[in-house]
Symmetry: C2
Subunit: 251 residues, 2 copies
């Protein structure tokens, strides 16, 4: 058996999310079926992040084990050919040791959340950004976001369906930056709770609109209660952008 690591880009719109579902298409199923189409082997693909329905990835990491004489490049070409015309592309494929695990070896994850701040509806970015019509104070958003950096009980910012054992997570960095009418919220942590980034961005949107103060955000965090959440942002603007592994894992 050989283990291969993948880097994957996908448009989340047509999928029920990363994870296989009985009731609709998933990114996992698309990739597993593409691999099976080449190798005729049952295969299970593991990922660094199980993104929700409608959430995108610029560079998701994943791995799987198969018996094959194909090298990593041929395998990548074959999977990409089988994936067509679905909006999933394998950007890179490499052979890794069996101790390398896309999920368990991952020591850092980074998401970007894209907001379009303008009056007009989205045309080119439908499903790929969150439209907020009221003018946003990006400096206030960035300032408030720093309250959430560090280790906290994120119960307020966690889906009721979250399966993590503990609600305590440590956020390494949050930055909010404006590029014209586009705003990007970048969030980095070792790992995240279910809906954590969308819950954070939803509340930062309230701060940006002037509806919430720093104190409101802090109170929501301190409440440790999902009922205290101001708003959960839609999946449209969320992109998984990077998974980090320690140098020894990739050697």
């Amino acid at each position: 058996m050989t283990r291969f690591a993948l880097t994957v880009e996908y448009d989340g719109r047509p999928f029920m999310g990363w994870q296989r579902q009985d009731h609709g298409p998933s990114v996992q199923q698309a990739i597993e079926e593409a691999i099976q189409g080449i190798t005729a082997q049952e295969v299970r693909v593991h990922t660094a992040g199980r993104t929700d329905a409608g959430v995108h990835a610029l560079a998701m990491r994943a791995h799987f084990d198969i018996e094959t004489r194909l090298n990593a490049f041929r395998l990548m070409e074959g999977i990409n050919a089988k994936l067509r015309p679905q909006p999933v592309a394998i950007l890179a494929c490499e052979e890794v040791g069996e101790e390398w695990h896309a999920r368990f070896s991952c020591i850092g994850r980074r998401y970007v959340y894209k907001i379009t701040n303008r009056r007009a509806p989205l045309a080119l970015d439908i499903g790929k950004s969150w439209l907020i019509v009221r003018p946003l104070d990006v400096e206030a958003m960035h300032h408030a976001a720093q309250i959430l950096v560090g280790q906290h009980d994120f119960t307020t910012f966690r889906s009721v369906h979250c399966q993590a054992k503990s609600p305590v997570k440590s956020i390494d960095q949050i930055s909010v930056t404006r590029f014209g009418e586009e705003i990007e919220v970048e969030v980095a942590a070792r790992s995240f709770l279910h809906h954590q980034v969308r819950s954070i961005v939803g509340c930062l949107g309230l701060v940006g609109e002037g509806k919430w103060s720093d104190k409101d955000l802090n109170d929501a965090l301190e409440a440790k209660n999902r009922e205290a959440l101001g708003h959960n942002a839609p999946p449209d603007g969320l992109y998984f952008v990077e998974a980090l592994y320690s140098a020894s894992d990739t050697e």
Copy 2:
């Protein structure tokens, strides 16, 4: 009658192009029907650029005349509501004098053509960029492009269906810039021939791949013959980004 000027963003994929067609949907028809839905008046919308099927716009300019008591803001909001869910958005609407004409008053037009230069298929940018797999030499493309700047007979770079009286056009600027795996070709001129930008970018792609030299591009230009064209780039990567008007026209 009041004349209103529009700034329009659209995703060209579902449309046969800007101009009304008997055989399919057009951006012009979408906007005209939206205006008629509000004012119950027959209306004709004029544009700065009649883009082809699949070509996008970040900021197309257009105008129309109607009898209305609505101000420009209410009119814009109404048109945007009627346009939904089509991927066309009115970014700005303003009242202008009857001497202002979206097409005839326009003194400069700017397009950006987006190329993705990588091995993997497109996932997030399907229909919105031109995928070129072979590594492109962007400096060679930029250098060769300067041959086309200035006034020339662009017969080679013109669709056989082009209706312009003269093939002589003056290109003000072409720049080719790389941002990671994305390459942007920016082209500015007072006006363009049908397929001119796509024809230019198609040939610059050949230069970037090393298949054409500066001399080959110059020979194609000198040939003044459509048969000498190396390649016509697909519509996917083309965006109308700016129409310029003299200050006196907008005052």
